[in-house]
């Protein structure tokens, strides 16, 4: 009948459109997660030292889920066009598995974002920056990573400490054990540097004259990229899953209407 025929055609058209969108979103998810995993801001050593780098695990899962979504969307388009029940059943089951993985990735990214408080980074910086006594090889590697990351952070973002240079004065630190307070009220990387990498005025830096030292904290430079990463993975994944839900329901409905 023409009306049923039209209805089926519309259903097919919608499903194909839905799968095309899923395929493109899969590519976008893969690209976004590759970008995050490549760590353009160099913040991974900080997370590694907190032993809480699940945001990166979520991004890794996102890469593979993105590829799976692309492949499955092509399978779905082929199955809908051929009205093949077997293909569509395979498509539905694999999509459900992918759905479960992406759900795990979203929830992980969103949950572990909550661990990233200023206090966490402050304690880590005070305990590890320029710590000369380390217990094991992994400890040493993490400490060196933290020291290197903080040095880069302070140089590139013109900042000092987590909330400000006063962090080095208010709290005891591993840095204070090897660097006395009179010569190093705060690390020399907090000083404004010239092109050769030397402080332009070391006395001005030690006195705390604005213009010769960095008086703002680095927390924004850390939390900004990490927040964007966590929310990017979590919310984009959530959006994809909502769309996939609709497409899967439509596919199941279409599957049940196919006659042998």
């Amino acid at each position: 009948m023409a009306k049923t025929d039209n209805g089926i055609r519309i259903c097919q058209g919608l499903l194909i459109l839905g799968n095309v969108v899923i395929g493109m979103c899969g590519i976008a998810l893969t690209a976004e997660c590759i970008f995050f995993v490549s760590d353009p801001h160099g913040l991974y050593p900080l997370l590694e030292a907190t032993e809480n780098d699940d945001i990166y695990a979520a991004a890794w899962i996102g890469i593979f889920v993105g590829f799976a979504l692309l492949a499955l969307s092509i399978l779905g388009i082929v199955g809908v066009m051929k009205s093949n029940k077997t293909l569509l059943l395979v498509y539905i089951i694999l999509m459900l598995i992918t759905y479960a993985f992406e759900m795990a990735s979203c929830i992980t990214a969103a949950t572990h974002r909550d661990y990233l408080t200023p206090n966490l980074f402050l304690k880590q910086m005070l305990e590890r920056y320029m710590n000369s006594e380390t217990e094991s090889n992994t400890d040493k590697r993490m400490t060196e990573g933290v020291t290197r990351t903080w040095n880069n952070l302070m140089l590139q973002n013109q900042c000092c400490g987590v909330q400000g240079p006063s962090d080095w004065q208010e709290y005891t630190s591993a840095f204070r054990v090897t660097h006395n307070d009179a010569d190093y009220p705060w690390p020399h990387n907090c000083c404004v540097m010239d092109t050769r990498g030397e402080p332009i005025n070391l006395d001005g830096c030690k006195l705390g004259v604005s213009g010769f030292y960095n008086s703002n904290g680095c927390y924004d430079a850390i939390s900004g990229p990490l927040n964007r990463q966590a929310w990017g993975v979590a919310w984009f994944g959530f959006a994809i899953l909502c769309w996939t839900f609709c497409v899967l329901l439509g596919t199941m409905f279409y599957w049940s209407r196919i006659a042998y």
């Binding site: 909550d114 206090n119 966490l120 630190s173």
Partner: protein, 276 residues
């Protein structure tokens, strides 16, 4: 003579005696009070240093004399910091200590060990440092320049007893009082007032604050709840779809899908046997 006890009892005759002694020595008491540098300096007060404003336009009349900074303990509790990173052994002090600033004898000789930095504060309650001449504090104060004195900045001579006037890092959080003393050789000519007590910063352990809040943010709860519901709906729909078809077996009857069953009856097998 104990000036401290004189001032505290407040009787007239010993006070008069003190005034006479002062004028007899020719000691001018200037009205300038040493003050900390402005609050715009981030390192104004640290764990072992502090920054004073230079005493510009104060010592105009003392062209040939030496101007020394006297750093003394003030009345108050002392904490034993025990840092000792720049000394061979950390000193320990009784608490509280009577105010060195009140018992300071103005006839100080900068080179003598009685007023040396290295013996402060265990064996002496005040020391002299930052020796300067009047032209260092010339008037007027140059515009746009930062004129400050950082007390505690020389770490190289902190343990060196041959440099008794070392401007070494202060050994404890204080409090301290400072004043400027103008000496001609070892004879005091003028002195400023004592400053307000200056207490240095003490570092604390970082508090183990809220690493993870008691309740997760609303976003996580939303995401988790909605996604779980959606997944449950999908699984239910899948089960309904599959059981609606022949897979579960109890669904609609499809005649074309049944298989034909063969029944062997006795008379079929018996017939060939009967023929034989």
């Amino acid at each position: 003579l104990h000036p401290h006890s004189v001032i505290s009892t407040g009787t007239m005759r010993p006070l008069l005696l003190l005034l006479l002694l002062a004028t007899a020595h020719g000691l001018d008491t200037l009205s300038y009070t040493p003050v900390l540098a402005g609050a715009e300096l981030g390192g104004r007060v640290t764990g072992s240093t502090f920054v004073l404003e230079q005493p510009r336009c104060v010592f105009q009349h003392y062209n040939t004399a030496d101007i020394w900074l006297v750093v003394a303990t003030a009345a108050g509790e002392w904490g034993d910091r025990g840092m000792g990173v720049y000394r061979s052994s950390p000193p320990s002090w009784p608490t509280p200590i009577p105010a060195g600033s009140a018992s300071f004898n103005d006839s100080a000789q900068p080179g003598m060990p009685e007023w040396s930095f290295q013996r402060f504060p265990a064996n002496t309650s005040a020391y002299l440092t930052l020796g300067a001449m009047q032209y260092h504090y010339s008037c007027p104060k140059p515009d746009g320049e930062l004129t400050v004195l950082r007390v505690g900045t020389e770490t190289s001579c902190a343990g060196d007893t041959s440099v008794p006037n070392c401007n070494g890092p202060l050994p404890g959080p204080g409090p301290y009082r400072v004043k400027f003393l103008v000496l001609n050789g070892s004879e005091p000519i003028a002195t400023t007032k004592w400053s307000e007590p200056i207490t240095l910063r003490t570092a604390q352990h970082p508090t183990s604050g809220p690493g993870m809040d008691g309740g997760h943010s609303g976003a996580i709860i939303t995401i988790t709840a909605i996604l779980s519901v959606l997944l449950a709906v999908l699984l239910a729909a899948l089960l309904a779809t599959l059981c609606g078809s022949e897979v579960c077996g109890a669904g609609s009857f499809r005649p074309d899908a049944t298989s034909i069953q063969r029944y062997n009856t006795h008379h079929v097998y018996d017939q060939p046997a009967a023929r034989l």
